[in-house]
């Protein structure tokens, strides 16, 4: 009898332990950092000298994903291309941006630093690079209802597990020559939900995609706004100087302002003539 009870306890223990292995992980993290890429193994802050950054419109812009980390595994190729296209679109339509190049991921070396960035910029003839990075953290918790998973049926119908997914998509725009961060913009999101044990993986995966989409939707207007702010800032900030590119085309333009001056001069000439 004692052996039977002992056997049953062992069996139950093994069964429970097995059930525990079904439970979702405690969380997940996907991260890619522009800082890790540009300043690998940096133990001291970068020694940036105060220099004047020259902006020579029309500026050629490159867009790239930050290499390294495990974040890229969390995105499908379609999602990556969609993000690149949307960022590219947000840079287009400005006369001071001459061209936008998508930098292939193969050209970006993990922890390559500015050396790698300069090589790629020279290769593709871009002066400014927008580095896209993506951080997503998923927290998983069980609630009181998860007790009902022991009924087995509950594992399919009871939402005993909760997830909290926090996402940040960041675009940092660097001047390659001066290594200066020109501007940055970020989009964030938080998606919370619950799922049954059996459907947890599927639902949390969908929630991660949803969180990513929300963050990107927030990033794009922020990026446009940051670009406009930067455009205004370089006109007044002495750290930036706008110069014409060697070989630029120039036009004599009287413009609306000049025409107003010409009309005032005509008015004076007519008045003087009448009086004389």
């Amino acid at each position: 009898m004692r052996n039977t009870i002992s056997g049953a306890l062992v069996a139950l223990t093994l069964l429970f332990a097995g059930c525990v292995s079904w439970f979702p992980q405690q969380g997940a993290k996907q991260t890619g950092s522009a800082v890790d890429y540009l300043y690998p193994d940096a133990k001291q802050p970068p020694n940036l000298q105060p220099t004047v950054t020259y902006i020579r419109p029309p500026v050629r812009v490159g867009i790239a994903f930050v290499p390294g980390g495990n974040w890229a595994k969390g995105l499908t190729e379609k999602e990556r291309m969609d993000l690149l296209d949307r960022v590219k679109e947000s840079f287009s339509g400005y006369d001071f941006i001459g061209g936008i190049e998508v930098i292939p991921g193969e050209y970006m070396r993990p922890q390559g630093g500015f050396t790698n960035l300069e090589q790629v910029a020279r290769l593709l003839d871009v002066e400014v690079v927008a580095l896209l990075s993506f951080d997503q953290v998923q927290f998983n918790d069980s609630n009181a209802l998860s007790m009902l998973y022991w009924t087995l049926v509950g594992a399919y119908v009871i939402h005993g597990d909760r997830y909290d997914i926090q996402t940040m998509v960041d675009a940092a725009v660097f001047d390659v020559k001066s290594h200066k961060l020109l501007f940055r913009a970020a989009g964030t999101s938080q998606v919370k939900g619950s799922a049954s044990l059996a459907g947890f993986n599927e639902q949390s995966r969908a929630a991660r995609t949803q969180g990513y989409d929300q963050a990107v939707n927030e990033l794009i207007p922020h990026l446009k706004s940051a670009l406009e702010t930067f455009r205004e800032r370089i006109r007044t900030d002495s750290n930036y100087r706008v110069e014409n590119k060697p070989g630029y085309s120039g036009g004599g333009d009287f413009g609306a302002f000049g025409i107003v001056l010409a009309l005032i001069l005509a008015g004076i000439a007519i008045t003087v003539r009448r009086e004389s």
Partner: protein, 221 residues
């Protein structure tokens, strides 16, 4: 008005010229270095787009009419023939990165400044207004330099305002005005403006004049 009208017709006709013609006439640094000197003049009568041409032609019509009336046809012909290449050469020196230039605004600025200086001389009462125009013109050049007037520009995207051309035009016009005061070449029998007053600034060797009197000989005293 013949000179101004001729200039306007040239600008208008060339606005619709084939690209090959336009490219052979534009101010092009490399082509100039290879001896294509006609570009020193022709670069001022061609444009980057029809909008650019229309804006410059409109401005040129206004200031050309004033200048021709104030200074006479012959004077503005001399001013244009001598001033246009000087402005072009000034661009070679002052805008080393400039590869190509088109536009009539510099010669419009040249004629406008010359006309303004003549009005300044003969109408002291208008000097306050003329001074205001000068300040506004300086402000426009400063805004062109800093790029704050791009939204009011008629230039296509990617083409920058060559403000150096306007500045050179003003300098040439001021020099011309000074020369005009002291040089006998300003004897202007051909289309010389009959209203040019006051008499204290002009003397007539041949007595009272009338329009079209080609024998009247004037010079600035």
């Amino acid at each position: 008005m013949r000179t101004t009208i001729t200039l306007l017709i040239a600008c208008g006709a060339l606005a619709f010229a084939p690209d090959s013609v336009i490219e052979s006439l534009s101010w092009d640094r490399l082509a100039l270095m290879h001896g294509e000197v006609w570009r020193l003049w022709t670069g001022h009568v061609i444009h980057f787009s029809s909008t650019h041409a229309a804006t410059d032609i409109f401005a040129l019509a206004i200031v050309g009419a004033i200048a021709e009336r104030e200074l006479g046809s012959r004077a503005i012909r001399i001013l244009l023939l001598a001033g246009a290449p000087l402005i072009s050469l000034a661009l070679v020196v002052t805008a080393p990165g400039l590869a190509e230039y088109r536009g009539a605004s510099a010669i419009a600025a040249l004629l406008g400044t010359a006309a303004g200086l003549q009005l300044w001389r003969r109408a002291p009462a208008a000097r306050v207004l003329l001074g205001c125009i000068t300040l506004l013109a300086i402000a426009k050049t400063a805004l062109d330099f800093t790029g704050h007037l791009t939204h009011a520009s008629s230039l296509p995207a990617g083409i920058h305002v060559a403000w150096q051309a306007h500045l050179a035009a003003v300098i040439v016009a001021v020099t011309f005005a000074q020369r005009m005061q002291s040089s006998p070449w300003t004897s202007l029998p051909d289309g010389f403006p009959m209203h040019l007053q006051p008499p204290t600034t002009l003397t007539s060797d041949d007595g009272p004049s009338r329009r079209g009197d080609t024998h009247a000989h004037y010079h600035l005293s």
